[in-house]
């Protein structure tokens, strides 16, 4: 509303309100802008104002926000008076839970048990994945090879083994949704189907998504895909349905070496917080400013 008023004031370029202008113009004193015949000048000014108001109100109706989001006044269904800002997660102050995730690349043994577990838990179609594990092999001649761990692990697959003598160092890097605090996927969705839960988990509204794949392109980590069975965007949710029941995500449950740690970032007593405090960690593509809530232990510089 402020927007319209400002423009209106600018439009009245000479003498403020209509009343004062008429009075002054009657006396023919001061106020050069009003020296035209009163009729024509007021019509021109009125037209100016009217078209501004018209444009302003049209653009307001097109804003994709409901009325109560526009004002900071407490709305009837938000008695706390917390500003229901689109970007902030403070709307639900009462039970603010923030989840975090830690991946330890020093522990991962690449058996791929998490991959099957995720597929079974979330019904992910073959050929797609919500989580995957990469193997980085640094050869002694300086080349780096990155390959994808099969679901059976390399031991159970027919991938020819690499001769250990050629290898300088090698490690596994599990990848999943970073649950970015400033998630680009969320920002581009044209129908608000990609959204952030009160716990800071990025989710997809299955009834609202139109499958436009905007978010798939926006995610800098390549985490999203269009599920061919549902036609919706699909992604790792940190097993939102499980964590709401106080269970751990399926991949964490399936990891035999605790390379994946899930927990609450807001609870100083959680194992996650303790491990984050004890060891230096880093996040993927920090320079993009997405502020991931997925942290990596011993992430090598080559891993992006």
């Amino acid at each position: 509303m402020k927007f319209q008023l400002n423009i209106l004031n600018n439009g009245g370029d000479c003498c403020g309100s209509d009343d004062s202008r008429e009075k002054q113009c009657g006396n023919h004193t001061g106020c050069g802008g009003c020296s035209d015949a009163p009729d024509a000048s007021s019509r021109r000014q009125f037209l100016n104002k009217a078209s501004t108001v018209a444009l302003g109100s049209f653009s307001l109706t097109l804003l994709p926000m409901s009325g109560d989001l526009l004002s900071d006044e407490p709305s009837p269904d938000d008695p706390d008076g917390a500003p229901a800002d689109a970007g902030s997660r403070t709307a639900d102050q009462s039970d603010e839970v923030v989840y975090g995730f830690l991946v330890d690349t020093e522990r991962c043994v690449g058996t791929g048990k998490c991959l099957t577990a995720c597929r079974e838990e979330n019904n992910v179609p073959e050929g797609y994945a919500r989580t995957w594990v990469e193997r980085f092999v640094h050869y002694k001649d300086g080349t780096v090879q990155v390959d994808l761990v099969p679901e059976t692990g390399f031991a159970g697959s027919d991938v020819p083994p690499i001769a250990p003598g050629l290898v300088d160092r090698a490690y596994f890097v599990p990848k999943l949704c970073n649950q970015c605090e400033d998630a680009p996927c969320n920002q581009v969705c044209p129908v608000h189907a990609a959204f952030t839960s009160p716990e800071g988990v990025e989710l997809v509204d299955p009834d609202r998504c139109i499958g436009c794949a905007y978010c798939v392109q926006a995610c800098p980590y390549g985490v999203r895909f269009i599920n061919p069975e549902t036609g919706n965007a699909d992604k790792c949710t940190w097993c939102y349905h499980r964590i709401k029941r106080n269970e751990t995500p399926a991949c964490v449950e399936a990891c035999p070496v605790d390379a994946r740690v899930f927990g609450r970032l807001d609870d100083p007593e959680s194992e996650l917080r303790k491990r984050l405090a004890a060891i230096p960690t880093s996040v993927l593509k920090e320079h993009l400013g997405t502020h991931p809530k997925l942290h990596y232990v011993a992430k090598s510089g080559e891993v992006i």
Binding site: V53, M65, A91, E106, K113, T116, A117, P161, F195, E253
Partner: protein, 186 residues
């Protein structure tokens, strides 16, 4: 207010403009109200009912607490061993149907619990409960692969068996000649 001026002939176009603005704006508001779901914006800029729908998805993977309710001895056997962090489903599968059967048997003693299936050689969580006196279970983790951390106990099977003087090198349960699954002494 100069009513005469407002309703004079000179302002006819203006009045039409005002009418158009009001009608157009009203129409836009109507279309918008039809396109935005009723529970949109209740808790943030999204459809509130979506949360409940996503939460309702059933959990498939079982956690250890369920298994250990009945198999009380396992927790003890496992606690001091290198397998303390290994969970039941890593070697025995998901066991969802087994839990259904066992719960039923607890209520009605005449209900029998079907025996566990044979291990199919792969880690498949949908495979319900299997017994694992099979080297494939052990080797799905412990085969040495480039990329494993040095601290992880991985073996080159042939070399290890020869070193240890295994009697039946090709037998499926050769690992169990020396090791116990729940507490594999090293």
């Amino acid at each position: 207010m100069n009513w005469k001026l407002i309703f004079s002939r000179n302002t006819r176009h203006l009045r039409i403009l005002v009418l158009l603005v009001v009608a157009g704006g009203g129409g836009a508001f109507f279309v918008r109200s039809q396109m935005i779901p009723a529970d949109y914006g209740q808790n943030g800029p999204y459809r509130h009912a979506a949360l409940a729908k996503i939460e309702a998805q059933p959990s498939v993977l079982q956690s250890d607490t369920t298994c250990l309710k009945c198999h009380t001895n396992v927790e003890e056997e496992r606690s001091e061993s290198p397998h303390a962090a290994v969970r039941c489903l890593h070697c025995h599968g998901n066991g969802k149907q087994h839990i259904v059967d066992a719960t039923k048997a607890g209520e009605f003693p005449e209900h029998s619990i079907p025996p566990a299936k044979k291990w199919d050689g792969k880690f498949r969580t949908h495979t319900d409960l299997f017994i694992t006196h099979d080297r494939a279970t052990c080797l799905s983790c412990h085969t040495r692969v480039v990329g494993m951390p040095d601290s992880f106990l991985s073996i080159n099977v042939a070399a290890h068996l020869e070193e240890q003087g295994a009697e039946e090198i090709n037998s499926k349960n050769v690992c169990f000649e020396c090791h116990e699954g729940h507490s594999p002494g090293l």
